[in-house]
Amino acid sequence: MAKALHISVEKCTGCLQCELACSYVKEGVFNPAHSMIKVFHFHDEARYVPYTCTQCAEAWCLHACPVDAIKLDPVLDRKVVIEATCVGCKVCTIACPFGTINFQTRTGKVAKCDLCAGSPACVEACPTSAITYIDVEATGTDKMRRWAARTMPQVA
């Protein structure tokens, strides 16, 4: 069954453990600058927002690629960059409305989140469960439960 990364922004403390885990798994170094998941810091509003590829169904990056270097993996419901095919033209980085596929000067190719083949390192590393990997069709359950708790009925 397909799963998706699910991010609960209110739980994020801005520790960057997800970025460290991602760069470690992908490159063998600790390097937030090369992480596929990025935590945005909105200091004045006290919000820390982890964000990465949502694996959209009609993927802009996939459709924009002139050499078919981005493939759909239907089993894990993910879009994967075939590095050997990628020519580093960056058209996909322009096409993506969310900025979650990026060019890497080191390799001359683009890179994006590939869900670590089904066991995302960022999920393991997150100390507050702000990032979870759950049934793609049940990502609203937490929100519903919070609503239920907030509005618990009372008799008289």
Partner: protein, 614 residues
Amino acid sequence: MSWAKKILRVNLSEGKVASEPLKMEWAKKFLGQRGLATKYFVEEVDAKVDPLSPANKLIFATGPLTGTAASTGGRYSVITKGPLTGAIACSNSGGYFGAELKMAGWDMIILEGKSPQPVVLIIENEQARLAPAGDLWGKTVWEVDGLLKQRCQSPDMKVSCIGKAGESQVLYAAVVNDLHRAAGRSGVGAVMGSKNLKAIGVRGTLGVGNVHDFGKFMQAVNAGKKVLRENAITGQGLPTYGTNVLMNVINQSGALPTRNFRDVQFEGAGKISGEAMRAKRPDGKSNLVANQACFGCTIACGRVSKIDENHFTVKNRPEYWKASGGLEYENAWSLGADTGVDDLDTLTFTNFLCNEHGMDPISFGATVAAAMELYAMGVIGEKDVGFPLAFGSAEALVKAAEITGKGEGFGKVLGLGSKRMCDKYKHPELSMTVKGQEFPAYDPRGIQGMGLAYATSNRGACHLRGYTVASEIFGIPVKSDPLQTDGKPELVKAFQDATAVVDSSGLCLFTTFAWTLNEIQPQIEGACGPGFSQEELLALGERVWNLERLFNAKAGLTAKDDTLPKRLLDEAAKTGPATGKTNGLAKMMPMYYEIRGWNAEGVPRAETLKRLGL
């Protein structure tokens, strides 16, 4: 091996930057950060140097675990000779700056000389340059942070800088990074100001990859994270309430210094506690809005607060309506209990001012407290201060912070610190300091071991050199009676040595509420390779401690400086569990010197130095 193996040396007088290899034989003996930078410092700087002269140096140093995935592995320290104390100064900070410096490929920066005009140091990976900063001089910490990122077109740049307090050489000026994390104590910011260096901006995208054994390291890292998560203090207490979870606990222990240590319990403690920060104010909101982690930290004790927009401190001042660094226990105490002010938003605002102007809120609050006592005694009056300075006055506290941060009027006197101020008014006994540095938030009449820890701290009165509170109050690693002196010399030495290891590694000391060397050692060994067994690390910590001690001795400090203010030795606590108690320093000191391997004058014996390889 986790070190970047590279040092950036900056000669500010000549405007030159140069890269040099890290001395790896020193790294093996002193690890990194506090220990390694101290080694470089004592080798290069005459101990008699005037701290605010160009001959003093200023070192920004990371540890081998800085920038790794080790929980809390983002620390850096600023090492210099402190203007407040005349002793070695080593102030530790979190946030993101330290890790960014390491990501740029540098273990440390050594700053020498004095720039002829204000400059900033810009580091982008291997490229480092000095740039004129005349237009940034006079700007606040908060302004410089934004302006420098904008100027370098580098939104992810991390900035460490001084505010006006550092420029005007307030003797307890801090170096502040990421807006509200600070290398806070001993006046390291005044040294930076004396060198005409306004800020260091760093962007690092090279990463930290030089780890000795990735597999072993990650195994130790993950085991460590689990221990932090499952521990009641690091897993629940600190994330929920921050360090200010201590306010009520220490007050109940009768060890909360109040109104310049006249009392040991504060009637307003509950109103300024970590619990109060979560309670609803009249505006229906809480003071605390979020907790924030520093780089890599899975504890996340950092407080982010927002002041009630109708509070007198910020009314019609929207620039202070945003969320920013909230109260930790130490500054809630120094700005609150020690001055007798019990209004949470006032303390939060004063803390904002300390961050914005770049000064140590512990020393600032404690200096105001001493000034309030001088005022209460009639030694100084409204004509000296410019306004009434009564204990408990929120308005006075805020005014004092504004004039001290800006170096105006009586603020110039407050900027001297408590010792010099009390000397000036001929009441040295009112200065609650050791070696010229103000006390933190634990009264050594109610926590006996802390008296010895303060008296022997190498950077003047400080809770972060030997935190025996952990044992005496929380029973970590074993419970000891806070009202007894027995066993305290051994306890103080053990805490001091272990702390020196943590401070040299890149990790945060707060992990030690949950971690012992059992968790820390495998992380260091995994990252750095062999040669760092528990025994070797403890010897390393002791080596660092003695190295600092030797520097202080050469600087002119003697056993006479290992003491406490008379108030703590002669005036008994009036309330609480410690009623009738003074600090039993005289009972502890000879034994401490003995187990340290020092002579009766507190000087390390030749065989001790030989044993430690010094």
